[in-house]
Symmetry: C2
Subunit: 431 residues, 2 copies
C-alpha cells in the first residue's frame, strides 16, 4: 500500500520498531511484563517519548501520567487524537495496547508527512497518546488515565490509589518521572486500533473489525464472611467456611454462562484472596471479583437476579454472610455512527475486507466515545488468545491495521468544519 508518502513509512520499519519496543519487559515465552508505572513501563514510555520527539512531536505528560505527542498543523484547531496503552498485565502478549500506540504514532507521522508534502490538507491538529494504566492489574480501576482525562474519575482519587504493596499511583509515577501537569489539548475526535481478543475475524476471514459498540457489563466485588476454625478438629456442622461459600459462587457464575449460552453471557471470577490462607485454619473471609458481560442488558439483569438468589441460599445453608458490591455497570455503548462510516469507507478504498462487530472488553476508546466522536478498529487475534504471552497476530494483519488507521486519521484530520468533531473536548486540569 502507500509506502512512499514522505514519512519514511514501510511495513518493515513498523515491524522493526515494534519489535524493539517488545524487548522492553520481554518474558521468556515471547510476551511482556510492563505493569503500570513499573520500571519496565517507564522504559517503554522513554522509548515512545524518544520515537515521537525525533519525528517532531512535542512530548507532554499530564497529571495522571497520560503521555502525549502533539503535532500542530493548523494553529488553534482541535486535535485528532489516536493511541492506546503501553502498560500490560503482569504477563501478557506484546500486542495488547502497545500495537495501538505504535500504530497511532506511525499513522500520525504518515499523515503529517502527507501534509508537509501537500497531499493531505489538514483542518485539524494531530496527537498521539499512551494512556496510563489501561490494564488495572496493579492499580484499580482499569482505563485509569482515560477515565481521568474524560472526567469520569477524579485525578486526586486516582493518584491516591495504592497497589498491593501500598505504593500510591502518585509515588509510582514519580518514580519513573511519569507525572506532569495540565496539557492544553482540545480533542475533536479519537481513533484507536487494538487486537480483537476474540476469534470472530479469524473465523470470518475479515481483516479489520469496525467496532460499533461495547457489550453491556456488570462488575462486582464480593466478600464471603465465615469464621476461623481448625481444619482438622472442628466438626463439619460447626464450620462456617468462607472458601466453600466463595467456591460455590465461582461454580454458580460458570453455570450462569452455560444457562444463558445463547445470549451469549460471559462470566468470570479471576481474582480471589483467602484470609487467613493458612493450611490449618478454615477461611474466615474471601474477597473476589465477579464479572458478567453480554450484548443484552436484560440477560445481565436476569443473571444478577439469579446470582443474588444463590448468594442468599449460600448464606442460609452455610452459615455465611455474602456481600455483593456492584463496582462497574454499563449498558451497551455505541460508537459514533459517522466514525463507523469513515472506517468502512477507508477499508473499502484500500480493498480490505471488514466487518462490523462489538467489543466485549472495555478500551480507552470506551471512555473517549463518551466525550468525542470515536473510531475503534480491530485486527485479528490468532485463536482469540488474549491476556496471555501466546497472544499473536500475523505481521500482514498488523501492517494492514496501520494502513487502515492511517486512512481513518487522515479522514478525521482533513474533515471539513462540519466534520464529526463539532464539540471538542478539553480535559479538566489533571495537574
Amino acid at each position: 500500500m502507500s509506502h512512499d508518502d514522505g514519512s519514511g513509512w514501510s511495513a518493515a520499519a513498523f515491524l522493526r520498531d515494534f519489535a524493539q519496543l517488545s524487548t522492553i519487559g520481554a518474558t521468556p515465552r515471547g510476551g511482556v511484563d510492563r505493569e503500570a508505572a513499573t520500571v519496565r513501563d517507564g522504559m517503554a514510555r522513554a522509548w515512545l517519548g524518544g520515537w515521537l520527539a525525533s519525528r517532531g512531536f512535542a512530548v507532554a505528560v499530564d497529571g495522571i501520567g497520560n503521555q502525549f505527542g502533539l503535532l500542530d498543523l493548523v494553529p488553534g484547531a482541535p486535535y485528532v487524537l489516536a493511541g492506546s496503552h503501553l502498560d500490560s498485565q503482569p504477563t501478557a502478549g506484546r500486542l495488547d495496547g502497545a500495537y495501538g500506540v505504535v500504530a497511532a504514532a506511525f499513522a500520525a507521522h504518515r499523515v503529517a508527512a502527507g501534509a508537509r508534502a501537500g497531499t493531505v490538507r489538514p483542518t485539524r491538529n494531530l496527537a498521539v497518546v499512551n494512556w496510563f494504566n489501561e490494564e488495572g492489574s496493579r492499580f484499580g480501576p482499569s482505563m485509569m488515565g482515560s477515565a481521568v482525562f474524560t472526567g469520569r474519575l477524579d485525578a486526586d482519587e486516582a493518584l491516591r490509589t495504592t497497589d498491593p504493596a501500598g505504593v500510591t499511583v502518585r509515588d509510582a509515577l514519580d518514580g519513573i518521572d511519569g507525572r506532569g501537569g495540565p496539557v492544553p489539548l482540545p480533542v475533536g475526535s479519537y481513533a484507536e486500533i487494538h487486537i480483537e481478543q476474540g476469534r470472530e475475524l479469524e473465523e470470518t476471514g475479515d481483516r479489520i473489525g469496525v467496532v460499533t459498540g461495547t457489550w453491556a457489563a456488570r462488575k462486582f466485588r464480593f466478600r464471603v464472611l465465615g469464621e476461623q476454625s481448625h481444619t482438622g478438629s472442628t466438626r463439619m456442622a460447626d464450620r462456617r467456611d468462607a472458601l466453600l461459600g466463595a467456591s460455590l459462587l465461582v461454580v454458580e457464575a460458570r453455570s450462569l454462562a452455560d444457562r444463558f449460552a445463547e445470549a451469549p453471557l460471559h462470566t468470570a471470577v479471576s481474582q480471589l484472596d483467602v484470609r487467613p490462607n493458612s493450611p490449618v485454619v478454615v477461611a474466615a473471609e474471601v474477597r473476589a471479583n465477579l464479572d458478567l458481560r453480554s450484548p443484552d442488558p436484560a440477560v445481565l439483569d436476569a443473571a444478577v437476579h439469579r446470582l443474588r438468589d444463590v448468594a442468599a441460599r449460600v448464606e442460609a445453608e452455610r452459615g455465611l454472610r455474602v456481600e455483593l458490591e456492584l463496582t462497574h455497570s454499563w449498558d451497551r455503548d455505541d460508537y459514533t455512527p459517522e466514525c463507523v462510516a469513515v472506517s468502512e469507507r477507508v477499508c473499502a478504498e484500500l480493498g480490505v475486507p471488514a466487518r462490523r462487530m462489538l467489543t466485549v472488553a472495555g478500551h480507552d476508546s470506551t471512555n473517549m466515545a463518551k466525550v468525542v466522536p470515536t473510531a475503534m478498529l480491530f485486527v485479528p487475534s490468532r485463536e482469540g488468545i488474549s491476556h496471555n504471552e501466546r497472544e499473536d497476530t500475523a505481521p500482514d494483519d498488523l501492517v494492514t491495521g496501520v494502513d487502515v488507521l492511517t486512512g481513518v486519521v487522515r479522514e478525521l484530520v482533513t474533515a471539513p468544519g462540519s466534520g464529526p468533531d463539532r464539540q471538542p473536548w478539553t480535559p479538566a486540569s489533571t495537574g
Copy 2:
C-alpha cells in the same frame, strides 16, 4: 488442690503468669499473633527463658530452635520432658500451645519443689520444652521442631525452608537469637496438655480428656493448571479456568464429608493461591491444600479414591490439568497404654472426671509418641472454637489441667527402673 508444695504454686500465680505471656503479640480481639520466629515469637521465648532460669532451670536451645529448660534431679538419669509450643497462627487464641508450655513449666517446677522438700522421690530428671514452629503457618511443615527432634525431618532441610517472603528458617531464627546447638537430652518419656479444639468434653461435662490415639489423615497439595485468557472477551467454551477447577474440588471436598458424615470424615481446603490473580485475566494456575481426616483409615482411602475420580472428570470436562500430591499420610496412631493408665490414675486420685478420647489434630506429642512413652491430655474448649481469637477455656479448667499434668509428671519422674521409659530417646545432633 495442692497449693502448698514449696514451689510457690497457686492457681492465681499460674493465671497471672499466663495472662502476662498473653500480652505478647496480643490482638485487639483477645487473641495473639506470634507466628514462628517472628519478633513476637522471640519475645514469648524470652519471657519463657526468664521464667525458667529464675526457677533454677538450665535454659538451652537446639539447632532448630526448640527451647528447653533442664532441671537435673538424678545425675545421668533420663528426662521426663513436658511442654508444647508458644508459636501461634497469624491470629489465634492465646491458649493453643502456650497453655501447654506454661502448664508444663509449672508442673515441672512443682514436682522439683516436691523433690527438694522430700515429698517426691525422683528417679528421673525434669525438662520443659517449647517446640519450634508447631503451627506451620509461616514455615511448613507444621510440628517442625518436634519432627527434627525425633528424626522425622532433616534439620538442614528444615533450616532451608522459606516463608512466603523468601526468608529462611535459619535467618528468621538467627533474627531472634533462636538457634543454638546440640542439647544432650536423653528423653525417657513425654507429657503434653492442650486445649481440646473440639466440644466433646464440654458436651459430656468431663474435665480432662485422656488422649488414646490420633485420627488418621491424608494431606494433599493440589495444583490446577489452566490457561490465561481474557475474562471478558474469551468465549466461555475456549476458557480453561483454573479457579473454576479448584472451586469444583473445594465443593467436592465438602460433599465427601457430607457423604461420609457418620464415619466421621473431616475435609478442608483452607489455603488457596490464584495466579495471576488479576481482575481481568482468567486464572492459569491455582495451588491449594486439601486435608482429609477420619478415625477410620478405610474411609479415608475411599474418600481419596472418589476425589481422584472427580479430579479426572474436572480435567476432562474443563480442559484442565489437576495434580494431587500426597504430602502427609498417617493412619491411626495410638498413645502409650501405660501413659493412658497413669493419666487416668492421676485423674481418679484428684477426683477429676476424665474420659478417653481421640485427637483429630496433630500435636508435637504425635511425633514424640513415636519415640518414647507419651501422655497426652486435653482440657475443655468453649464451643470447641479453635484457631480463632475467640478460643477460650474456663480458668478453673485451666488450673485443673495444671494439677493433672503435675500429677502425671510426678508419676513419670518417680517411676521405678521398670517404668514406661525403658529406652530413652536421645536426639541426633541438631546443631
